[in-house]
């Protein structure tokens, strides 16, 4: 079943055409990778999905809900979470708080004046947060301030924040960029484990190692347009892709 369907999306900035008639769909429960050279429009594309940017034309359907005109928090509330290229976390809050906030958002909705509840006694949310931190291996740092984490840990924290919401669709923007090989492998393992929970994922990635170890399907974006789509092994051999993306070099 299709969980996400993008049809005829165009987006221009001034004279620059960032997205050119993009048609794209994701099957529920699969991992779809988007690859492409720098400036191909990958991040713009994700921004159109989460309401940060509004497409000039075209439609984005999540299940049978149209995302057009929805606010970012509304889009999140219906089940789409995103991990950013540079980690977007609550830098001066503790790790626990970082996870509890999305967990609360999931449970209580976009706004609730729970001004007299005690956050420390909300065992449901706390347990969930602890569990998530365990999952990403940060539980012993739970009372540290998020800004004091290493870059890799910050990414894992952000991932845990998104996962705590049990999203239907998880968007990952270069989840391993700037990580060491070991960290990258850890992250791949982690992402694979999430796969077991049946969360659909769209991953933007440069690292082919990551792409090929995770993705069920790969979409190649170049100059704002989709130039190829298919299984990882097919894409690997596609000469158009190699031309556009890899500058002719062989993988």
């Amino acid at each position: 079943m299709e969980i996400l369907r993008v049809e005829g999306v165009n987006k221009s900035f001034g004279g620059l055409r960032a997205l050119n008639d993009v048609n794209f769909s994701v099957e529920e429960g699969t991992v779809q990778a988007i690859i492409g050279p720098n400036g191909a429009g990958k991040s713009t594309f994700l921004n159109c999905l989460i309401g940060r940017l509004v497409p000039d034309t075209g439609s984005v359907m999540f299940g049978d809900i149209s995302l057009t005109g929805m606010k970012p928090y509304e889009i999140n509330q219906i089940g789409i979470s995103r991990v950013f290229q540079t980690p977007e976390i609550f830098g001066d809050l503790t790790l626990m708080e970082n996870i509890m906030i999305p967990a609360l958002a999931k449970r209580d909705g976009e706004f609730k004046l729970h001004a007299f509840a005690d956050v420390g006694k909300d065992t449901e949310v706390r347990d969930k947060a602890l569990h998530m931190l365990e999952d990403v291996g940060l539980v012993e740092k739970k009372d540290m301030v998020a800004d004091s984490l290493s870059r890799g840990d910050k990414r894992r924290l952000e991932l845990a924040m998104c996962l705590s919401q049990d999203p239907k669709l998880l968007l990952l923007d270069e989840p391993t960029a700037g990580m060491s090989r070991a960290d990258t492998n850890n992250t791949i393992d982690l992402l694979k484990r999430i796969g077991d929970r049946g969360i659909t994922k769209v991953v933007i990635e440069h690292d082919m190692h990551v792409v090929f170890s995770l993705a069920d399907k790969v979409t190649v974006l170049a100059q704002g347009a989709i130039i190829a789509e298919g299984k990882p092994e097919d894409i690997k051999g596609d000469p158009r892709v190699q031309e556009a993306y890899l500058g002719g070099a062989h993988l």
Binding site: R52, S81, D92, L93, E97, M100, H114, A115, F116, Q165
Partner: protein
């Protein structure tokens, strides 16, 4: 206790103790000694400490938690004051309806201002709030004179209706009271050279302030409070996490506006006059300074900041050269002259200078405000008692403490 964790409970009781015993603590010097000049234990100033403490606690809920720097909160205090005096003019001299209406009107006004101003953030938000407050001040001072009595300030008159009370008692305006207990009523305790004053109004303020403080603690520890800190930390992430930051900030704005109104209501309950100057931008600036000086985002810091500024204003401004000569009476004339000459610029009419220098010193050396100073001293103390204990859980003071 009361749904507070152990640490907060002890903080709450510590503050309670300080407030209850303030008439003793603020009068440490025997009556008649030269240092009695520094005593602050008289009703008006003690009431002011608490009232501005409430104002600052409320402001801190907005600024300390969400980081939205409002430069117009004095307007809510002013609106609250006017509403309070009008209640006393029209209804009764019992302070409860006055305080209640102060909170309601300030809440409504802050809802309006907040709804518009929160469409912008950062300095644009600050300027919007400043603009609203300055407009309120200018209008209250001039064209709204029929409602506000302009420059003089709204005050009670002998011919006010007071439909639930009396217009006048023996040719005098009846006193503001709490179900019959006049706010001005005091009783005095003289012990040795010391004199302590216990004032009914002060203890009413104390009760209100402890409630306000308790509510603030609950807010700080609530999911709502956490969301507000999330606004300050990363509003972007908040939005992509499914949270609508606007109602959160608006709620915080209105709550802090109501705190300001509460302070305004208490002010007129203690002293039934509402002057337009309390809406001026300098008054808004004052509460900003109180909060930052004390330590923005800390529970008790803003109260300390409020106390600090009000102390400077009321104590330093009253020292004059004569008093200085009294202090130095024991010294040789030449030395006394010299000391008076040196200190003269900083006292009496120079109290602004002292305040300005204090601001600078605190911001330069204690970026976290007075609370950071307290913490540093505390840490020094701790290190001495247990050297090997190192708690690196939180490298920087977490904002909620």
């Amino acid at each position: 206790m009361f749904g507070l964790n152990k640490k907060d409970t002890s903080l709450f009781f510590l503050v309670l103790l300080l407030v209850v015993l303030a008439p003793f603590l603020l009068n440490p010097f025997p009556e008649g000694s030269e240092l009695a000049q520094f005593n602050a234990g008289y009703p008006d100033l003690m009431q002011r400490f608490l009232i501005f403490g409430i104002f600052a606690i409320g402001f801190n809920i907005l600024f300390g938690l969400t980081g939205y720097l409002s430069f117009g909160h004095a307007a809510f205090l002013g609106v609250g004051s006017y509403a309070g005096v009008w209640m006393m003019k029209l209804l009764t001299m019992n302070v409860i309806p006055a305080i209640f209406m102060s909170v309601v009107f300030a809440g409504l006004f802050s809802l309006l201002v907040g709804y518009i101003s929160l469409r912008r953030s950062g300095i644009y938000f600050s300027i919007l709030t400043l603009a609203f407050a300055q407009m309120s001040f200018s209008l209250a001072y001039s064209v709204l004179t029929p409602i506000t009595n302009g420059e003089t300030g709204l005050q009670l008159a002998l011919d006010d209706p007071r439909i639930l009370g009396v217009s006048s008692e023996n040719g005098a305006i009846p006193a503001a009271n709490f179900f019959g207990i006049p706010m001005r009523e005091s009783f005095e305790l003289s012990m040795g050279g010391w004199l302590f004053t216990f004032n009914a109004g002060y203890y009413l303020c104390a009760v209100v302030m402890m409630i306000a403080f308790y509510v603030a603690i609950r807010i700080f520890r609530s999911p709502f409070g956490m969301m507000l800190r999330a606004v300050k930390s990363n509003q972007q992430r908040m939005n992509f996490t499914g949270l609508n930051s606007r109602p959160y900030t608006l709620a915080a704005f209105v709550i802090s506006g109501m705190y300001a109104g509460l302070a305004g209501g208490l002010m007129v309950a203690m002293d039934p006059l509402a002057g337009a100057e309390r809406m001026q931008w300098t008054a808004s600036g004052e509460v900003v300074l109180m909060t930052i000086l004390g330590g923005a985002g800390t529970l008790i810091g803003p109260v300390l900041g409020a106390g600090f500024i009000k102390y400077c204003e009321n104590i330093f401004s009253k020292i004059n050269d004569n008093i200085l000569y009294d202090w130095f009476a024991a010294l040789p004339q030449g030395l006394a002259d010299f000391l008076v000459f040196v200190i003269h610029p900083f006292i009496g009419k120079g109290w602004h200078l002292t305040l300005g220098i204090m601001f600078m010193l605190i911001v330069i050396f204690l970026p976290g405000g007075i609370m950071e100073g307290v913490e540093r001293i505390g840490r020094l103390f701790k290190r001495k008692s247990s050297k090997d204990e190192n708690s690196t859980a939180r490298p920087k003071a977490a904002p909620a403490e």
